[in-house]
């Protein structure tokens, strides 16, 4: 059998005749899919940016009430983290590849997104952990200074609290690096392989 015969045999498979599509359920599924996608984005924004916005408001409120400058710093740290997330999300949303783009554009678009995600998680210390830690550190130092007469026990307690905060940050950092290794790196490799097969 030569290629033409094989192609003829291939094209004579009557594919469409075997499929019955329930249009109502398909439409319902499309709507559900879109709603699920929008809801996913919305709740992610609420979770990440909303928490930052709430904490900004809370620390600002306390800072104005108590006239404590480290609380202003903490509010500023939360505000900058939230703003960074929001700006990043806005820029990345513009770069989303559409399923109707060519395969190459789609793979390139996905690769850009995965690379950006890797960059974000690898640098989570600089844009997320450090600003919060600077704010918290300033607050702890200020409280320690104010309570310097209260005795060693209080100072030791606050130092312990600072250590717990430091450990928590280390945990968050490690968790992000684990996500990069476990999920994003293999995905990047797969996309790079796909792209190299198109080059």
């Amino acid at each position: 059998m030569n290629f033409k015969d094989l192609q003829k045999a291939w094209q004579s498979q009557d594919a469409s005749a075997q499929v019955t599509i329930n249009a109502d359920v398909l439409l319902k599924e499309v709507r559900r899919n879109q709603q699920h996608f929008r809801a996913g984005l919305f709740w992610r924004d609420v979770r990440e940016v909303g928490v930052a916005a709430f904490l900004t408001w809370l620390f600002l409120h306390w800072a104005i009430r108590d006239r404590e400058w480290p609380l202003y710093l903490l509010a500023l740290a939360c505000f900058s983290v939230g703003s960074f997330m929001l700006a990043d999300r806005w820029f990345q949303r513009k770069k989303q590849p559409a399923p109707s783009d060519s395969v190459r554009s789609c793979v390139e678009g996905s690769l850009v997104q995965v690379n950006h995600q890797i960059w974000l998680l690898r640098n989570v210390f600089w844009w997320y952990l450090l600003p919060i830690q600077v704010g918290l550190g300033a607050l702890i130092c200020s409280v320690v200074w104010q309570l310097r007469q209260a005795g060693l026990a209080v100072i030791l307690g606050l130092t312990g609290y600072a250590l717990v905060c430091g450990l928590l940050c280390w945990g968050v950092y490690k968790l992000n690096q684990y996500a990069v290794r476990k999920t994003l790196e293999p995905r990047r490799q797969e996309l790079e392989t796909l792209l190299s097969s198109l080059n």
């Binding site: 094989l6 498979q13 019955t20 599509i21 329930n22 359920v25 439409l27 395969v103 996309l191």
Partner: protein
Amino acid sequence: MLKVVRGCTAVPQDQDDLLQDILVQIWSSIPGFRGEAKETTWIYRVACNTAMAWRRGERRRREGHETFIKFSPSPQVQPSHLDSMPEQEAVVRLYAAIRQLPKVDASLALMHLDGLSYQEMADVLGISENYVGVKLNRIRKQLADQLKGASNEL
């Protein structure tokens, strides 16, 4: 679409899952169709992108979702439409061989067998027509190696 699905996976449940994903993506992408490409090319683009993303990601099961596709009797190759047994066998073996190819090559093989022009294939994949030709030569050779016995003149 069914050929793309069959070219991706041999597992009936996965075929069903992927076909539903492709249909949902096509339906969702219709508002973005500007008529710049032929409908077949556009559908192939969405189907290939969905198939590649589907194979890339976790296998999602549509638990709790309603099924909107019915196959009768099953989404496998239907021999009744093919003229003879050797042809049926050849097509079945061809599907198996296509599944062994890298993703991009499998997509090209499917489009080539479906009779798309070089320009259409280049448009779907976003590569040059020359490169389509180069790749197809390689793919034919690979398929011929895998189909030895069923085809000698690929």
